[in-house]
Symmetry: D2
Subunit: 297 residues, 4 copies
């Protein structure tokens, strides 16, 4: 029989993810501060919980999907939180993107209550959440990962086991660090090339076939920025957040990130300029404006 799942945090991402769990016929108890969304999910077959604690007390697997590190700490370790209610041998799966060190700390606190934890941040955005095609990077004990794999498969497509607790977060953050740098670097190189007189299509084709190739340009910018579309797939404010997590980790581990640190501040500039709600490829638009050119495929 399928595990009973608790789902805490049913916002932009959590809502479609929980709907996919219902579709896969998992018994679901949801909790959020937003009553309206809970009512919507009730109509689709979920049970409504009274608190994170109460949800945890009646489910086998408790998924959390909240904005940031302090939210995770609060909803799991705080008053009326998951930890107070969770049953021995239940599993907490935090799918938020947060500081690996916080994730590890929460895992240790839960372990003391005989509750296992996985960190399982996702990528793919709301579209991926709706289509159940998310990439999910998972940290924690491998046997717990194996046990939860069907649950992940109900929500995503590319499920990667990354090692012990915290490693899911680390892999996701390092990936986004590279993606963010590539958004900016692509914006710089392509704007300069076009400004200097090369057709974007020529530049794009030549570089994609050579050593400058990168996913952010080849797939992401091609689908959005190079079509003049800067409405969010993955919001610039979220890229800024993820680069911030990379910088936190860098500080903890004592690794200098010269390029990463500058990328973080460039996205800070984007957000301070009021462009955080735009797509993470917005540096293309900013450079287009500075160079008075258009990058269109």
């Amino acid at each position: 029989m399928k595990e009973k799942i608790g789902f805490i945090g049913i916002g932009t991402m959590g809502k479609p993810m929980s709907l996919n769990l219902i579709k896969a016929e998992y018994p679901l108890v949801v909790y959020d501060i937003n009553l309206k969304t809970m009512e919507e999910l009730k109509e689709r077959g979920a049970t409504i919980g009274k608190s994170a604690r109460e949800v945890a007390s009646q489910t086998d697997v408790i998924i959390t999907m909240v904005p940031n590190s302090s939210d995770v700490e609060k909803v799991i370790l705080g008053e009326n939180g998951v930890s107070e209610g969770a049953r021995s041998k239940s599993v907490v799966v935090d799918m938020s993107t947060i500081d690996p060190s916080v994730s590890r700390k929460v895992a240790r606190a839960l372990a003391a209550k005989n509750v296992k934890m996985l960190d399982a941040p996702v990528s793919g955005g709301q579209m991926g959440a709706i289509a159940a095609s998310l990439a999910i990077m998972v940290g924690g004990d491998e046997d717990v990962f194996e046990k939860c794999l069907p649950i992940f498969q109900a929500m995503g497509k590319k499920i990667v086991y990354c090692g012990p607790n915290g490693n899911g977060e680390i892999v996701k953050i390092m990936n986004n660090l590279l993606a963010g740098i590539n958004m900016i670097a692509t914006a710089e190189a392509m704007t300069l090339g076009v400004k200097a007189g090369v057709n974007l299509k020529v530049l794009y084709d030549a570089i994609n076939a050579s050593s400058g190739q990168n996913w952010a340009m080849q797939n992401y910018c091609a689908a959005k920025a190079f079509k003049g579309d800067f409405e969010p797939g993955f919001m610039a404010a979220l890229m800024y957040k993820d680069l911030g997590l990379a910088m936190n980790l860098a500080k903890e581990e004592g690794i200098p990130l010269l390029i990463g640190g500058l990328g973080h501040q460039i996205y800070s500039n984007v957000v301070a300029s009021g462009l955080g709600v735009k797509d993470s490829s917005i540096p293309v638009k900013i450079l287009e404006n500075l160079g008075n050119v258009k990058l269109r495929l």
Copy 2:
């Protein structure tokens, strides 16, 4: 009948390239300041020229392959240079990697003598030159490009026409700008991820299947740096040179390159540290040392 080709600059790259032209049965006249290399090529079937001018005076297509912008100016426009000797309707093909603005200036000067020019910088390093598998990015008139295509095919595999004069240089430089940034960004992200506890193979596989993917990491670092090999394929000093050309172009075109400019200075630091003779993936080694970890696939 095949065009008679002049080849000026038969060093690390030019020598294997000219050997491939001989193999393809082009009549070849070579010129270099290094007498010994000329003798070697003579033994392989080339004729030895007396000066750039004299080579130009007896050939249909004159290829130049020299270190930098001022060398190109000197060898083509200088005293006893190609321009003084070149016959009307002959073609000059500069395969050096230089400032696009210098390339365009030289093209204009030659046009005044009814000599056409192509800029055709290559990538692929000495290995690619030997294997006749270079990528060649070509700027200039399209009919001249078409005419010279068989010559390029004798030396390379991926031949891309990029538009008017200078555009071959621009495409190459923008490509290497992205490649250089990716070398550094990859070194930063992978070192941090490994230091924080993730296995390099896990990190590498996960990122290659996601939005952080880039050629520099996936192919280049995998083949060299992540095997502990920092002997030059493409030297760090050459990456520094190419980022310098990108910065020159950025200044001419008025495009700010925040990330590009920092990447340029990071490679300047590499060269000042005496590591310019190492491979362009040397930032991996530098970060490994700072983090006291090893990145090995």
Copy 3:
């Protein structure tokens, strides 16, 4: 009659500062995890406390001088901490350099117990602490500041009132952000100038009389780095810490710091290279080595 003072954290800085309070005839109760230092202070006239709580329970003004934000939270708000023991209307003076937001949070928690707080970070290093010549930047209520002024005057010379709680920290951190950037910028400019053939004295005199003048170069580097002395006055690791506090604040306030962020990562590089124990002017030495020159006045 003079207030009875508690002093928690009698390390490199706290010890000479507390000795100056004894010299000024303040009754003093000290507490530290280091028993030996407590014994030394006992011999000089201090009383030894049993815990932060116990010290607070018997003193009018409780000074804390500990390494970082989490230490301050722990020693004031933690178990057996100052907050548990502090008497109504007593004053807590935190002289540590920490996150302004943590300082403000602690101040709010103490206010709920009718205890006032000042943040009063210092600059001047161990030398300034011994000589009672510290600069002290103070945040909190102005009347509390006035009341504590004689205490500050026993430890320092330049006492500046900066406004409400947290403002002392902010002023110190912004000052050190500028000082840190100037250390690096001075190292870069002076190394380049000397490498290009100008005598350091000529460069130094000319710039000090012009728009490039800055304290870090004129006074600090002149006294240490430009005499070849890189033993710590103010350690590079502390500069790194302070720039980290600036970056934290920048994130909280949403202000991008392009130059500041790069400066932070450059000091991270210094620390990762094992040079954190050297003086904060160590970038001069690093650039000297890269340029193979000596900067000596």
Copy 4:
């Protein structure tokens, strides 16, 4: 008797400087492409020359004051240039701010004709030029410097001898490198401090009395940016040019400038944004806007 002086380049700076020479009773021959300005100077007592060459042929000291390196090369070494006309033992004084390497190359070319050269770039802007209060940094032979000192004193106040040819340029450029970095760093630190709740006056006074003090903040920003005045004293576009000269020199000398390079690109961004015509303290305004605060003393 006073030397007969030629003055080539009578624009924003050159015009008031030449007027001060007339005031000091030097016989003056002027040359510019702008006929109208020449007419104005004629009315004030100058003679009008027909070309740079012709001016040089009839004067003892030839001053050049033109926008950039290539202008200097052209006006001195080019066709109908100073070099063609200059008499043996005359002195060329180039007061433009240009690449030191170009300055040295021109000096060598003139030396071959037995003409001495000084590089003597100025700072102080148009106001300083009008008031004859310029700072002048001079490179070249010391005896030639001594001989020209009265001429410099007619145009400026702070005259500094910096060593052999090119050193005047180097000192000026290194000074402006530091000034430019300080403009940006000051904008960042002060905006963040004010945004975080500190009064600008408090911040300014405290930092000026401490290790973050720098001329750009204390004197320049106080007089302009912190009064809301961003009309050019020293234009941002000129700061961008001078940082570009610093980066050129860094490349020639092999010294990496991480902070300098970023500063250069930040000013490139300023210029690309159309703000090059504003004052060099415009980063203050940019940060004010991002932070939605005002920095006013």
